[in-house]
Symmetry: C2
Subunit: 473 residues, 2 copies
């Protein structure tokens, strides 16, 4: 890459991150040159590249302006969930979704698993084999307490990338992010308490809320900025909210990154209204641009953020390897982990610690993020091409999920049934709501290679959506 | 082995199981020959072998009588726990115990892990490696729902050995027996409910009871027959007991096997008083004699037994691989498992399914049981030799735990502290009580080879106990 290509790439990422919102004028060439300490010609060349890439347009004598990245599709609106605490009851649908395996005969476009066929995962297989041979005694024994120190040290290093300074003793290893979320909820609540969440939200954590006999209050959430803080504050005035749970960095399913200033405001609210925050960062490391966004936890001077994550989206869910940095709830979490499953398997901990330490994790992350970003653009292209015109679609900054809002009147459950004869499945939107909202929405995954079969499937998805749309008229 | 050696071995096991209690006359040589269809001379020779082994003695003209297997040590008495529901609060001590790893520098005689150095585990390492190479896609993905069918089918076969007829759909894979117990409790109870348990009892399940905000009622338990049914019935009359949890086959820590007739009586009580039973069978497959005892579950026509187990004691705790056969609570358990950790790692499931299917599990079990039984006798010998004379000790029928009742006045916590300078640890008895009983008791593990270092440690244990005894006088 030449210097100007590199600079253009940086600018592109900043545009996609929203540093330069759509319609805004970029700094003049001279200003940008001074601002960034690069030559005038580098800025000129990179602005030209951005223009070629259709990311900015130039107005004669005025400068360069950020273009809407997508010409036809617009973003979904701020979500409008139920304005009161509700109980959750859609387990059957969640089970049905999670049980659909992609196979030769079925294309599960809604599933949440990463692509595990990248060659950058090969070293992990080798490290697993080596540990089985050389550390058999440890592999056969269960890691009690906090988990293996060796891994916790690596996790602490990873967390520095999001601005966190955590001590290894303050990390609790868990069986995936789900266990981290589930134990965190348990540590913070009593049956009957109210938990606020961003909405749409991950169905797994909602099931955990349900099973802890808690009520959930869904907060309106914007597909570009995340949870609406005015709406949250209104809710806080009205309800005794114990905990806020959210996914601020590369949200599932919306793909946004919460702006920095909102993070600070949110922490101020947490202090004012004295609630704890469960920060689900499972997709934080998959954010396409560099550096990855800061976590809420990195601003958390009061130890009220429980930071939950895992290697399920970055490496493989089959490892069942996650963690929580529980702040002041550390002792409690260690106890709850013991109660839940005594300890964690040693093999994944040993192998992943080696994988990170030897630099393979960074390499793998870099490669997979590049692919996911490219696959996003292809998937967006197909969605715009094949789905009904009025379809709105998110513009994810990380991960591998698209959130589609189909024209009102299309029911994505029904759509899913219509897709079954074609051996295609999507994740129906209402799975992501506690109150059965988002029936016209759906989640698509672009984790897997954009093959012809996938294009064909999106085409069929479009046709079936169109049919339902006509029927609903 | 010759025929009579084999027959003597069978008789020996039956004596140890209690089929022929201490003091009872064995059938006459002629009667035994007819009873078992073996020749007179085989019976004669085998009775002589038993006499040589000090298991029976002959009275002139009368016949052969079962001798007390241990000349000096007697069994501990029926336990006398608190007679009312209590809350549990000894987490710090449990944590301290579980965090003591055996190492070159520390001999953790109280730990619960099996010996994982048997050569019969080698094929498992190979199978893990093969699955990592050949099934990488599956290894990297998380097994949702009930868990891998392939493993559940093997588990169903294993469970037939305890007389159970269960369908693979009625098995829920878990992260070890602890998760199985924890989810079962959650499925059956509401905060404030009363759970009855055998006493002494495994500290992990007591922590689960505590963390689910339940009260525990400890039922007096005999080191040879298990839970006292009259005491249980008395408790049932007095308290609204929701669940009974117990370890009937090769109890931890007492090592008994509940007699068949008591199992039937217990199920009748469960019907009469309408409570559910959590049967912890984690050591059931380690019972020394063949066939292994039937499980409560095998008599459970009403689907009120939740059968929990794992491969932690039979293969290795580091697999974190267990299961529950939840009877009528099947759907609930699948939901709770999802909430707790989404699903289970695939690699251990794949490898262990192969390990069982290819006959390696049976071989491994046979070998390890032989060793454990031999190690029991050596450990018993050392205990009798080195511990204060009045020490009472259990006579385990499976597993690898001894339960010692030291003379009153010796506090095993204090004892443990006195052992620390010698880099030796034991499991203090009060860990196994909800109400801090059994302070004069302790658990020893004989899982590991009976090396000189172990003998030395038992000797030191004896000396320190003696010192404390003198101080307490
Ligand atoms: C946002 C989010 N949080 C948590 C989880 C649970 O992940 P894990 O497999 O690490 O338990 C998922 C998985 O789908 C997820 O998407
Ligand atoms: C009686 C008993 N039940 C359950 C467990 C939990 O075992 P696992 O490692 O399978 O979770 C143990 C482990 O020590 C145990 O002794």
């Amino acid at each position: 890459m030449t210097l100007y290509q590199q600079f253009a790439e940086e600018l592109k990422q900043q545009i996609q991150q929203g540093y330069y919102p759509v319609g805004q004028k970029l700094p003049s060439i001279r200003a940008m040159s001074q601002l960034r300490g690069v030559s005038i010609s580098t800025v000129q060349e990179s602005y030209r590249l951005l223009e070629d890439a259709d990311l900015v347009y130039s107005k004669h004598k005025s400068g360069y302006y950020v273009k809407s990245p997508l010409k036809t599709a617009s973003l979904p609106e701020l979500s409008q969930p139920e304005q009161r605490p509700v109980l959750i009851d859609n387990w059957q649908e969640v089970l049905a979704l999670t049980m659909t395996e992609s196979s030769q005969h079925f294309l599960a476009l809604g599933r949440g698993s990463p692509d595990t066929s990248f060659s950058t995962l090969k070293p992990l297989q080798r490290l697993m084999n080596e540990n089985i041979k050389q550390q058999s005694k440890q592999v056969f024994s269960c890691a009690k307490g906090n988990g293996l120190l060796k891994l916790r040290e690596q996790i602490v290093r990873l967390m520095q990338h999001s601005g966190c300074q955590v001590h290894p003793d303050n990390i609790q290893i868990t069986a995936g992010c789900q266990e981290a979320l589930s134990l965190s909820l348990k540590a913070l609540t009593q049956p009957g308490d109210i938990v606020a969440i961003d909405s749409p939200s991950f169905y797994g954590s909602m099931q955990a809320i349900q099973s802890n006999q808690l009520k959930v209050l869904e907060i309106p959430t914007h597909p570009q900025n995340g949870i609406s803080l005015p709406a949250l504050e209104l809710a806080l005035e009205q309800w005794p909210i114990k905990v806020l749970q959210l996914i601020p960095s590369s949200n599932n399913p919306l793909g946004y990154i919460m702006p920095e200033k909102n993070k600070l405001k949110l922490l101020a609210l947490a202090e004012k209204y004295d609630f704890a925050i469960i920060e689900d960062d499972i997709l934080g490391d998959t954010v396409y641009h560099y550096p990855r966004p800061r976590s809420l936890k990195s601003y958390d001077s009061q130890q009220r953020v429980l930071f939950c994550s895992s290697f399920s989206k970055t490496i493989a869910p089959g490892l069942r390897l996650g963690w929580v940095a529980p702040g002041r709830y550390s002792t409690m979490l260690t106890h709850l982990k013991f109660v839940s499953s005594l300890g964690s398997a040693s093999l994944p901990q040993l192998a992943v610690a080696d994988f990170i330490e030897q630099g393979y994790y960074d390499k793998h992350l870099r490669l997979s993020k590049q692919h996911y970003q490219a696959r996003r653009d292809i998937m967006l292209h197909w969605v715009q091409r094949y789905l009904p015109e009025q379809t709105k679609v998110s513009f994810p900054q990380g991960g591998y999920f698209l959130w589609l809002a189909l024209p009102e009147g299309i029911d994505s459950f029904q759509l899913n049934q219509h897709l079954r004869p074609y051996h295609i499945g999507i994740a129906a939107g209402s799975l992501f709501s506690a109150s059965g909202k988002y029936r016209n929405c759906l989640r698509l995954s672009y984790a897997n290679p954009p093959t012809e079969a996938v294009e064909q499937a999106i085409k069929i998805l479009g046709q079936q959506a169109q049919l339902l749309l006509q029927q609903s008229d």
